[in-house]
């Protein structure tokens, strides 16, 4: 019997995109931001990144072992979670807090709900918000970046540009674009984040619907309610400050916790933009991206339910 008559069940065409391959692309895309973070904040940032990734991978391995499940650390999703979590931590955080965050993200948010594909919210952001509520002090004290230290400025800590914006001070947009500002390890440099995002878009890993609607909605919200009218420098500062870019391209687009329907993605992006705007402009703290994303993650099942596309030929039926 020749291969021509090979009988098999569908799917007949398989994509090369396996889970570990996509995760590998995400890791590559996060490298510019990570490297800039290490350059900017020094060796402790590198230590935090390594420790967070290790704690995520080891806790996933241990959970699989203890509950006698299939070993799932090879799909690299734990590495991505660890890396994303580390990029969302302030560079001066004590190392053991990073471990707690990693364990919480993997065990509580991901594995207890059934592992990759079943988690109801983004594990990295779940871990970050857990740490933010638990250790508010260390999680919100941001060391100054190398650039300012070399300029002879206060080396201990300073306000992030968003906090300065909230206090009504002016900020240097150019510094925010390059990343010479205090902030979490991976969020400071908009350029480094965008390089990774463009790589992901070119490789077809993420689709522009969510980030684009997210950012456009956020811009409109800031213009309408920011209290600065059509002041573009204020809008740009809001776009470049905090974790908006990192969140929009790397965390809001997480396959598991974002809607799969095209219309659903657009609704998801709009909800994200509005929530981030509300948290940043009317909320008590300067930053709101992570809360906006995990909150919207919880709405995903509802969004998917109302945006189920009609099958071909069922146009008239309900």
């Amino acid at each position: 019997m020749s291969d021509m008559y090979n009988v098999s069940s569908s799917p007949h065409v398989r994509s090369k995109d396996t889970t570990d391959r996509i995760m590998l692309y995400v890791i590559i895309a996060l490298l510019p931001a990570s490297l800039f973070g290490i350059y900017n904040f020094g060796l402790h940032a590198l230590l935090l990144i390594v420790i967070t990734i290790l704690s995520c991978v080891i806790s996933e391995w241990a959970f699989d072992k203890i509950t006698k499940r299939k070993d799932t650390i090879r799909d690299l999703s734990a590495v991505v979670t660890g890396l994303l979590l580390a990029l969302n931590l302030p560079p001066t955080l004590p190392w053991w807090m990073a471990i707690i965050g990693g364990v919480f993200a993997i065990v509580i948010v991901k594995c207890l709900f059934g592992g990759l594909g079943q988690n109801f919210m983004n594990p990295a952001l779940g871990g970050r918000c857990f740490l933010l509520i638990s250790f508010t002090g260390p999680m919100t004290s941001f060391a100054n970046s190398k650039y300012y230290i070399s300029q002879g400025m206060d080396a201990v800590s300073s306000a992030t540009p968003l906090a300065a914006l909230k206090a009504g001070e002016s900020v240097n947009t150019m510094d925010m674009l390059i990343g010479r500002i205090p902030g979490t390890i991976g969020e400071t440099s908009v350029i480094a984040v965008l390089i990774g995002a463009i790589f992901l878009i070119l490789m077809g890993v993420i689709d522009l619907k969510i980030p684009a609607t997210y950012i456009i909605t956020f811009i409109i919200f800031v213009l309408l309610f920011g209290g600065h009218g059509f002041d573009w420098s204020y809008v740009v500062a809001h776009l470049c400050g905090g974790g908006l870019m990192l969140g929009a391209f790397f965390m809001a687009t997480d396959y598991v916790t974002s809607p799969i329907t095209p219309l659903g993605k657009i609704i998801f992006g709009i909800v994200l933009g509005i929530l981030t705007g509300i948290f940043r402009i009317f909320g008590a703290s300067a930053e709101g991206v992570s809360y906006a994303i995990i909150f919207s993650n919880l709405l995903v099942p509802l969004i998917e339910r109302v945006t189920i596309p009609k099958p071909f030929g069922k146009g008239g039926e309900r």
Partner: protein, 244 residues
């Protein structure tokens, strides 16, 4: 085992209101920020439960069936008011930290549930012991949750510092604040229930199952205090047996 000790065992282990029946979740989640609060809440509930079980059992032949729930509520509310005044008068610090949750004992589903499913059908002495057992089971559950939350959230047990805090950058324990906040209550309750279930499942595997809570094998849902949370699993299982 005579009937009285059986009731106490039933309340603390077999049908523990916090971990097995999942009753009274509102105070369980809200007041267990520390062990002493959990203990205080549990004991206040126990007192109300014992007294109301006793009185309802005494009056069970007098209370007309159609208005039994309002009658139960009147009895429970009177005892809650007494307990509230006593706590306010003699333990004002506990009264301040429990706040609104003491008056809310009136609507605690454990108390109404026991009145409905046990005290209104049984004689006085077993009803009293049923109240003691259930109340102690609730107290044990609340105190366990309170201890875990207090250790993790403040490094203390019953207000005594067991884990030295890190001060001025020194070596020590940094409290995980989330555990004294609302989300921590859910985490701790979920973990403790999970541990209970693991223990139960292991015992079952070994062929020595822990006594499970008795379901509604009689099929009399109308008079069952737990019908609102019943999944009908027990009934379904027994039906399957009959069919086979």
């Amino acid at each position: 085992m005579n009937k009285c000790t059986e009731r106490i065992y039933n309340g603390i282990v077999k049908e523990n209101p916090t971990f097995i029946l999942m009753l009274g979740m509102c105070p369980t989640l809200a007041v267990t920020t520390s062990a002493i609060n959990g203990l205080g809440m549990g004991l206040s509930t126990t007192v109300v439960l014992v007294m109301s079980n006793m009185l309802i059992s005494v009056l069970r032949n007098i209370i007309p069936d159609k208005v039994r729930v309002p009658a139960f509520i009147v009895v429970v509310a009177s005892f809650v008011t007494i307990v509230q005044f006593l706590v306010q008068g003699f333990i004002p610090s506990l009264y301040d930290s429990l706040g609104i949750y003491i008056p809310l004992i009136v609507v605690n589903c454990i108390i109404l549930g026991r009145a409905e499913s046990y005290a209104s059908k049984n004689s006085v002495v077993p009803s009293i012991f049923d109240g003691i057992g259930m109340g102690l089971g609730f107290t044990v559950g609340l105190t366990c949750i309170g201890i875990v939350r207090e250790i993790l959230g403040a490094g203390q047990i019953f207000g005594a510092q067991v884990l030295p805090l890190a001060e001025n950058g020194g070596f020590g324990y940094t409290p995980i604040t989330i555990f004294v906040l609302a989300p921590g209550a859910f985490f701790v309750l979920a973990c403790l229930v999970a541990i209970m279930n693991v223990v139960r499942a292991k015992a079952e595997k070994k062929g020595k199952p822990l006594p499970a809570a008795q379901g509604c094998l009689a099929g009399d849902c109308a008079s069952c205090g737990q019908s609102s949370m019943c999944t009908g699993k027990v009934n379904a299982a027994s039906e399957k047996k009959e069919n086979a």
